[in-house]
């Protein structure tokens, strides 16, 4: 042991002696660090891989669609100041027929230039080749779709293009940065089996959709330092006459927005959850160190008498905290790598980014180590300084006897039915209020952490209940290629299995209130809509008023308006009217930031005969197959989504991600509770071992002594659990607010059963930890305590 000072050797012995507690703290630190490493590491992996992907495959900056614009308009777009590269395309939804797949599947077909590769949003080709220039039916398909359906190059797939069934040949499999997160029409979660991306030569698409010499989609990049908003305004001006629906930048591009929102969630997680762990570990370190210093008073006095300085003593005890924490940090790194790898694999299934594999992120390591050590020092500073401040003469005296007072507690303790062990528990509990508070905090934090993560299940249930049962009472949603008149609806009603049909019209618009403006889709619903309904915040159905506009609460918040205020709507379709509309109601929606209007009023404003862009259908469950068979042959239909399939994919996707995350949280929430209880029980045992051994001598059984040791903790748990429930709900609100994006928001719903589960996990893990300590009661040395004065 050359080179180690005697103090350091003492430090190592202390740690070895208290290894159980050191491990308990280490585990909690490790959990906090692991989550931080996982969240920050995944975040940086995700963002680095995405950025590299965007860069390398030239993800565009601005996107827009038009009904039909002549190629000549492209030159005017190119002339806009700040536009760097521009590519016009044809993009269309088609219905697919896949062997062995019953539900209607969709593909988004994107055009490739007639020769060579795209300029923007280029394809990363995993296998096969590009379609031949002249070939009218060769396609590249997206990787996820190919995997989900077991398709390979050389296979054929049937698509309904403009009402005609065409056999397409797969010649390549690839992905593009535009579709990292590929969401089908009317879907909430990616369903790789039922939605894919196809790339086809432009010529073939022009022919198939009667778009010779025209385009319906544009993507472009802007020169560095250019104000994208200005470019967007000019693009909209150029394309307005051709039915432009308003350009968007990357932040509104669906796939990118989902990636961003996931990254936002990781950021929130990295910020809030490790903080809970590190706060608990700091409190634990504080109580361990306080206890250690109390037992080492006389040694400290001796050290000071020898001439050790205050700083050396402070540093000595800080080192104790740092050493324990450092162990936890290293374990946290290892655990974090495992979790990061696990989460990255999950992400790689949802987010189609090539080379999305975990790598060590030095910033995550650095940040989490810093946070852990910082909290350890914060937790240990006051105890260490207290030790350094002891005067040598005073310290070498034995600690003054613990002075119990009767105080107000007397009134409680005088109650007849209390037995002496219980009195002892209560007195001890109130004798050390700081320690009791620390234990209370630890238990409450464990419960709170569990509640604030497990509530996601309740939130998802609420979202599903509202989305799939309360607001959407339809079985199928139909999207048309373009606005159709009423006859389309009656045609649909006549399809086999259709019991009722309601039209719907989605119009892109920009809403303005004061200096705020948001690009949204306004949904027109019939006055007596039954298949798509809206709900007020208190869960009542809201009828759509014949005038004005109904906003979702998120949108109302974003525009800072409420019922009765006026908003200016710039409709981005048809006659592009600009009208002031009163907000007639604010409703509760979890997905997106929708706005609703009466369909008739909307059509009147747009100065058009009754037009719909889609329909909701109620189906006869027995005739569903017949319906699916016939609907895909109808012309003009771009997409069909079935509610049953949507529910399936929603649940399936969640099972994979959320359930894994939740199990991780359940385990580590339990770890906190176990660590807190183990530590508290150990401190109690060392402090009162003598007393407890004396009781054993007097004939108290192991159980009775165990009761005195743990009764205190049981009481703390009893009080800590409800406090933790309340704290957990508050934390859930914090997390939900931090994670809400324009894509969705998380309702804070906490079912009593969730509180129960959190409490059970904490009780269970506490009990296990407590039993570990109680075992030691058996090995108390009865004779040793009799030999020595305290």
């Amino acid at each position: 042991m050359k080179g180690l000072s005697p103090l350091d050797i003492k430090l190592l012995r202390d740690i070895w002696h208290m290894r159980g507690q050191a491990i308990a703290v280490g585990i909690i630190v490790a959990c906090g660090v692991a989550i931080m490493v996982m969240a920050l590491g995944t975040l940086s992996t995700l963002s680095a891989s995405r950025d590299a992907y965007y860069e390398r495959y030239r993800f565009a900056d601005v996107f827009t669609s038009v009904r039909r614009a002549p190629e000549s308009a492209a030159a005017r777009l190119r002339a806009i100041d700040g536009v760097q590269t521009i590519e016009t395309r044809i993009v269309r939804l088609v219905i697919l027929r896949i062997p062995d797949v019953e539900e209607p599947a969709n593909a988004q077909i994107v055009s490739l230039p007639d020769t060579g590769e795209s300029i923007l949003n280029r394809i990363v080709l995993f296998s096969g080749r590009y379609p031949e220039t002249r070939s009218p039916d060769e396609i590249i398909i997206s990787n996820a779709f190919a995997e989900a359906n077991g398709l390979q190059t050389g296979d054929a797939i049937e698509a309904v293009m403009n009402g005609r069934l065409r056999a397409l040949t797969i010649v390549g499999i690839g992905d593009s940065p535009e579709f990292i997160y590929a969401l089908g029409p009317g879907s909430l979660m990616p369903d790789d089996r039922l939605f894919g991306i196809f790339w086809m030569r432009r010529q073939a698409l022009e022919a198939a959709f009667d778009l010779d010499g025209a385009f319906n989609s544009v993507s472009l990049t802007v020169a560095p330092g250019t104000d994208t908003a200005l470019v967007i305004d000019q693009v909209d001006d150029v394309l307005a006459p051709y039915g432009g629906t308003g350009a968007i930048d990357r932040s509104d591009q669906l796939s990118n927005a989902f990636v961003e929102s996931e990254m936002n969630q990781l950021k929130t997680m990295a910020r809030i959850i490790p903080a809970v762990f590190l706060a608990v570990s700091a409190v634990l370190i504080h109580s361990i160190l306080n206890r250690l210093i109390q037992t080492e008073r006389q040694q400290i006095g001796l050290f000071k008498a020898f001439g050790y300085s205050r700083r050396e003593i402070t540093w000595h005890y800080l080192k104790f905290a740092i050493a324990i924490t450092a162990g936890g940090v290293l374990a946290g790194f290892a655990l974090g790598f495992i979790l990061q790898n696990l989460i990255t694999q999950l992400y790689a299934e949802t987010f189609r980014i090539p080379d999305l594999t975990w790598r060590i992120d030095s910033f995550a390591l650095f940040a989490s180590a810093l946070a852990a050590l910082g909290s350890a020092i914060a937790g240990s500073m006051s105890a260490a300084l207290g030790a350094a401040k002891l005067s040598p003469a005073e310290a070498m005296q034995p600690a003054p006897p613990v002075n119990y007072h009767q105080g107000w507690l007397r009134y409680i303790l005088q109650m007849r039915w209390l037995d002496e062990p219980t009195r002892l528990i209560l007195r001890h509990l109130f004798r050390f209020p700081a320690r009791t508070a620390a234990n209370l905090f630890g238990i409450a934090a464990a419960v709170a952490l569990l509640v604030s993560t497990l509530f996601s299940f309740d939130a998802i249930d609420t979202i599903m209940e509202q989305m799939f049962f309360r607001t959407n009472a339809h079985d199928a949603a139909i999207t048309f290629f373009e606005g159709r008149n009423d006859t389309a609806l009656s045609e649909l009603s006549r399809l086999p299995g259709v019991m009722s049909a309601e039209g719907v019209r989605d119009i892109p618009a920009s809403l303005e209130a004061g200096h705020r403006s948001e690009r949204v889709g306004i949904t027109g619903l019939p006055a007596d809509a039954q298949l798509r309904r809206i709900l007020s915040a208190d869960g009542r159905y809201v009828d759509i008023p014949s005038t004005g506009i109904v906003l979702s609460s998120q949108l109302a918040d974003m525009l800072h308006v409420t019922t009765g205020d006026l908003v200016t709507a710039h409709f981005l379709d048809a006659t592009r009217p600009v009208v002031d509309l009163p907000v007639t109601a604010v409703v509760d929606e979890f997905v997106g930031t929708p706005a609703f209007m009466d369909l008739q009023t909307m059509n009147a404003l747009l100065d058009q005969p009754p037009t719909i862009s889609g329909a909701y259908l109620k189906l006869d469950p027995l005739a569903q197959a017949a319906f699916e068979e016939s609907v895909i042959e109808r012309p003009g239909i771009a997409g069909v989504s079935l509610r049953a399939a949507a529910i399936d994919s929603f649940e399936e996707t969640l099972q994979e991600t959320i359930y894994i995350m939740m199990s991780i949280y359940a385990v580590i929430g339990g770890a906190i509770a176990a660590g807190v209880v183990y530590n508290a029980a150990r401190i109690s045992l060392t402090e009162r071992g003598r007393e407890l051994a004396s009781l054993r001598v007097l004939g108290f059984t192991h159980h009775e002594v165990g009761y005195i040791l743990l009764g205190e903790l049981a009481l703390v748990a009893l009080v800590g659990i409800p406090i933790g429930c309340i704290g957990g709900i508050a934390l859930a609100h914090l997390i939900a607010t931090a994670m809400a994006t324009e894509l969705y928001r998380i309702p804070v719903v906490v079912n009593p059963s969730t509180l129960g589960v959190a409490a059970m996990i904490v009780l269970f893990s506490s009990t296990i930890a407590a039993l570990f300590v109680v075992r030691r009661v058996r090995s108390l040395d009865l004779i040793a305590v009799l030999k020595t004065r305290e």
Binding site: Y404, R690, L695, G699, H702, I783
Partner: protein, 247 residues
């Protein structure tokens, strides 16, 4: 002589309450083994007060711990009131201590968090037919210190609380290991008076360990230990009152 002694000769009960035969105890620490007891024969009669003397390290505490069920002999047999304690389990020893034994140690071993009365109640609660805690405290002359915490009592008072705690459950046998060791002579005598009174009034069998030869004069019998063996047994002609001795 306490009158109770002859009364105890009832049917089925022998005069002997506790008996150890050939008791050995070897401590093995690392490579060294210490033979603390080398074959002790001891019997304690009902109601008698026995003082055990001996040099430091002679094995007195070791013997007391074994008799009191705190430790186990390496060899030998041990009987208490007709029960064989030689192979008693941990739980059986706990029950033995709980029902039949009282202890008084040199260092009081009171529970700091409980008042004098509560320290006594601690034992009476788990006893079968205990006296009232107040009564026990009265018996040791502490009727006016009932609500005090240990930290608020003097050493002698604390030791008397310990005696009260030990006798409150009316144990059949009381083991005292240097009960006056930490006290001055005057205070020590008050503690001995308490013990003497309990022995006379409740006819509790007592084994008192001490270094103090003078204390032997209050006993019915005095045993002397040396090197793990009892080497001498004497019976004073007249058992003195504690107030009649001094050291």
């Amino acid at each position: 002589m306490p009158a109770s002694k002859s009364d105890k000769q009832t049917s089925g009960q022998t005069d002997i309450l506790m008996e150890g035969r050939g008791l050995e105890r070897t401590f093995i620490t690392g490579e060294v083994s210490v033979h603390a007891l080398r074959g002790v024969d001891i019997s304690l009669k009902r109601g008698e007060l026995v003082v055990l003397l001996g040099h430091s390290g002679s094995g007195k505490s070791t013997l007391l711990n074994i008799l009191g069920g705190l430790d186990r002999a390496t060899a030998g047999t041990l009987h208490f009131d007709g029960h064989d304690l030689t192979h008693a389990s941990d739980d059986e020893l706990t029950r033995y201590r709980r029902r039949s034994v009282g202890f008084v140690f040199q260092f009081y071993n009171l529970v700091a968090g409980l008042t004098a009365k509560e320290n006594v109640s601690l034992v009476t609660e788990i006893a079968k037919s205990p006296m009232k805690p107040e009564e026990a405290l009265e018996l040791v002359g502490l009727g006016n210190r009932v609500q005090h915490f240990p930290a608020q009592l003097s050493g002698g008072e604390q030791q008397r609380v310990a005696v009260a705690r030990a006798i409150a459950k009316r144990p059949q046998i009381l083991f005292c290991d240097e009960p006056t060791g930490a006290l001055d002579s005057q205070t020590g005598i008050r503690v001995l008076e308490a013990l003497d009174r309990v022995n006379r009034e409740l006819s509790t069998t007592m084994l008192i360990i001490t270094h103090n030869v003078g204390i032997g004069e209050i006993a019915d019998r005095v045993l002397r230990m040396q090197d793990g063996l009892i080497i001498e047994e004497t019976a004073p002609k007249r058992r003195l009152k504690p107030s009649e001795i001094s050291w």
